[in-house]
Every structure is written in structure tokens, then in C-alpha cells.
């Protein structure tokens, strides 16, 4: 059977018989219908669910990480605050200490000055007392001495005339001037 004969007999392999076209179409349409309408949507749904399950897990992990991060930041903030507080307290204590020292120093100064002033007053009082005592003694001694030299008591007279006092004042003035 030559190819030409076959073609003439309508048995050419490139000429499709109608019934086979119909059956071919039918067979494919059945497959396509089942897959497109039922089975592939089925599996797509499950694949989507699986993707979501996996992504859900990832999301959970991400949430946990975010929480850990926020806790860490919170902790860091608290730590910084505590440090700040400590620094502030230290500063305050330092300031208080400094104020206390200054206060005490001022107090000491004041007390010292008081003591010094009291000392000076005491000294002045003593000096005055000594001076007046000395003046009396010196006057008495001088009049005693002069009485002995003159042979009579000048004491009352001297005391009345205030000679000695005047003399001593003069001496003092000279001493002051000569200084």
C-alpha cells in the first residue's frame, strides 16, 4: 500500500477522523473539568492553608521576637532611669555634703570669731584691770618711795592732787607718740 494510495483511501495519518476529534475533545474536557472545578481549587486551598500555617509560625516567632525586643528596651530604659536616679542621688548627696561642709565651716568661722572676740575682750578687760592695778601700785610705790626720800608721807596729798595720775598719763602719751 503506497502512501499515495493511503491518501486516496482517506487513511492519511494527518487527516483527523471526526469521531476521534470528538472523543479527544470529550476526554480532555472531562479531565479539565474535574481538575479546574474541583481538584485544583481543593489543593490550592490546602497549599494556601499550609502557606498560612508556615507564615503563622513565622509570625508567631516574629511576635515573640518583637516582644523580647520591647522587654529588652523596657529593661534598658529602666536601667538607664535607675542609673540616672543614682547619679541624681549622688549629685544631691554631694551638694548636700558640700552645703553641710560650707555650713559647718561658716559655723566654725563664726565660733572662732566669737572665741577670738571673747578672748580680745577678756584680754582688754585684763589689761585694763592690770593697767589700773598697776597704776595704783606704781603710784603707791612712787609716793612711798618719794615719802621715804622726803621723810614724810605724801600719800594723801599725792592722792588728792592726782599728780601721779597725770605723770603716768604723760608717760603713756610719750610712749604712744614714740611708737
Amino acid at each position: 500500500m503506497s502512501p499515495l494510495l493511503i491518501a486516496a483511501n482517506e487513511e492519511n495519518p494527518l487527516v483527523p477522523p471526526i469521531p476521534e476529534l470528538v472523543i479527544g475533545l470529550l476526554a480532555f474536557v472531562i479531565v479539565f473539568g474535574f481538575l479546574a472545578k474541583k481538584l485544583l481549587p481543593n489543593i490550592n486551598k490546602v497549599l494556601e492553608e499550609r502557606r498560612e500555617a508556615i507564615e503563622g509560625g513565622i509570625e508567631k516567632a516574629e511576635a515573640a521576637q518583637t516582644e523580647a525586643q520591647s522587654v529588652l528596651e523596657q529593661y534598658k530604659a529602666q536601667l538607664a532611669e535607675a542609673r540616672h536616679e543614682a547619679a541624681r542621688l549622688r549629685q544631691e548627696a554631694q551638694e548636700q555634703g558640700a552645703a553641710l561642709i560650707a555650713e559647718m565651716r561658716a559655723e566654725g568661722q563664726r565660733q572662732r570669731e566669737e572665741i577670738v572676740a571673747a578672748g580680745h575682750a577678756q584680754i582688754e578687760a585684763d589689761r585694763k584691770a592690770a593697767s589700773s592695778a598697776l597704776r595704783q601700785d606704781v603710784g603707791k610705790l612712787a609716793t612711798d618711795l618719794a615719802g621715804k626720800l622726803v621723810g614724810e608721807s605724801l600719800e594723801d596729798h599725792a592722792r588728792q592732787s592726782r599728780v601721779i595720775d597725770r605723770f603716768l598719763d604723760e608717760l603713756e602719751e610719750k610712749a604712744e607718740a614714740g611708737r
Binding site: L14, L21, G24, N42
Partner: protein, 275 residues
């Protein structure tokens, strides 16, 4: 030649080498692709033959496989579901997303997946014992699939590009071609609009046709030469049967893949702005 070679298998004859019987008596040919109706009258258009039976049976097998795998799919898949998912994912990701892209391609995934597994099953019949005939070795089946793709492609191109855009798309209109433009447009028009469905179908058909012929040739030759000194030749021929069967297994999957890859390329071409 015997009266009706389509009804006589080579193994049912006593035709052997050195027996004065020529190989032409049993050799495979176009008659190997013709089947007498199992039901109905071959002269009318109302009949049912082996290829139709295999086509419908193939549909049932493809649906059965996916029904078993995807009827009640689990988030944590079983073995069958995992295998089916791998196949589905291979076509979805490896073919559709790769050529058309995820956003545009999603709509065509069911078509392409159905096409691939349908074509593969039809090809696989070639080496399934007893059936042993590639349904896609009959032009009707690849042609009908190619025509479906053609209709999808043409309507999509019209929808996306409009009337003028459609003609620009199928003629590969490009001003920069200058004087060559009329020639290139004519060639492109023929190549895209007229020859494309034909080549799309024939590429699959011819591969399966040739593969089946080769398998038949070596199988029948093994039987034919199984006589006296011919046994040595028969052995070589039989080794070739095994080698070619393995090769066919590969070609069947490859041709199914090529068929859907071309489908995606055509769809992508329809979606493309301008080329």
C-alpha cells in the same frame, strides 16, 4: 500483504527469516495506526475504536489519580498527595510562572496542568502492556488539544490587544524593519495564525508516531528474526526494544512538557504589550 493487517498481530503469524517469508509481510506501517471499530461502523462516523477507549480510559486514570490525591487534601500531605503536589507544582511554578508570570499566569494553571497530565497519560499508553499504543500518535487527539490552545490564544490576543493590536501582534508589526516589513508581516501572519496550531499538534503527533513505529519495528523484527541463525540478530533487536522503551518513556514526558511549554509561550505572547 495479508488481507487485513490491522487485525493480525505479527506474533500470530509464522512469518520468520529464512522461511521464505519477506519482512514486508509483517513490517509496521501506516496500517499499524488504523484500528477496526470495536463498536459501530467504520464507514460512518458512528464508531468506537481502541484509541477512543484508551483516550477515555486515560482521562479516567488522570482524574482518578488526582481524585485520590486531591479529593481531601491535607495540610500535612500523605505520600500520594505529595507526589501529585510535586507534579502540580512542577507545572505551575516551572512552566506557567516561569513563562507567563505569577500574576497573569494563575488563571491558566488549570488549563496547562490538565493539558500536561492528559498528554502525558495519552503518551504513556505507548508502553503500557496490552494497550501499547500512544493515543497522541493519532493526529485527532493532539489536533484537538492544539485547537483548544489556539482558540484560547486567539481570543486572548483579541481581548488584550484589540482589533488593530491583534493584527499587529500576529504579524509582528515593527516599523524599524522598513522595507522588509511587508515580507516579514506575511511570513509572521502565516507562521502565527495558520501554521502554529498545525505545528503545535504535529510536533507531538509525529514524535509519538515515530516512537511507536520504532518500537513496533524492533519488536516485530525480534519475532521475525527468531529463526535458526537469525536468533543473534533477534537478540540485538530485542535489546533495542528495551532501550527504545526507556527512551520512549523519556520522550513521552518531554513531549508533554514541550506541548505545555509552547502553550504558555503562546499565551505569554498574547499578553505581551508589543514585540
Amino acid at each position: 500483504m495479508s488481507a487485513d493487517p490491522t487485525q493480525v498481530l505479527a506474533f500470530e503469524t509464522d512469518c520468520h527469516l529464512f522461511d521464505g517469508c519477506g519482512f514486508a509481510e509483517v513490517s509496521p506501517g501506516l496500517h499499524s495506526f488504523l484500528f477496526q471499530p470495536l463498536w459501530g461502523d467504520g464507514d460512518s462516523n458512528l464508531y468506537f475504536n481502541k484509541t477512543m477507549l484508551l483516550a477515555l480510559l486515560g482521562s479516567v486514570i488522570v482524574i482518578g489519580f488526582f481524585w485520590a490525591a486531591f479529593r481531601r487534601p491535607q495540610v500535612v500531605p500523605g505520600k500520594l498527595q505529595m507526589v501529585a503536589e510535586a507534579g502540580y507544582d512542577f507545572i505551575r511554578r516551572g512552566v506557567v510562572y516561569e513563562t507567563i508570570g505569577k500574576k497573569e499566569g494563575e488563571k491558566y494553571v488549570p488549563l496547562v496542568v490538565s493539558l500536561f497530565f492528559f498528554v502525558w497519560m495519552m503518551n504513556l499508553w505507548s508502553i503500557v502492556p496490552i494497550a501499547q499504543f500512544p493515543v497522541t500518535g493519532i493526529i485527532s487527539y493532539p489536533l484537538v488539544l492544539a485547537l483548544i490552545v489556539y482558540v484560547v490564544w486567539v481570543s486572548l490576543t483579541f481581548k488584550r490587544q484589540g482589533f488593530v493590536g491583534f493584527w499587529k501582534n500576529v504579524t509582528g508589526y515593527d516599523k524599524s524593519l522598513g522595507a522588509v516589513l511587508p515580507l516579514s508581516m506575511t511570513i509572521e501572519l502565516f507562521s502565527n495564525l495558520l501554521i502554529r496550531p498545525f505545528t503545535h499538534a504535529v510536533r507531538l503527533f509525529a514524535n509519538m508516531f515515530a516512537g511507536h513505529t520504532l518500537l513496533l519495528l524492533f519488536t516485530i523484527a525480534s519475532w521475525y528474526m527468531l529463526n535458526s541463525w537469525g536468533i543473534a540478530y533477534a537478540g540485538v533487536s530485542f535489546v533495542m526494544v528495551i532501550v527504545m522503551t526507556a527512551f520512549e518513556l523519556f520522550i513521552q514526558a518531554l513531549q508533554a512538557y514541550v506541548f505545555v511549554l509552547l502553550t504558555c509561550t503562546y499565551i505569554q505572547g498574547a499578553l505581551a504589550e508589543h514585540h
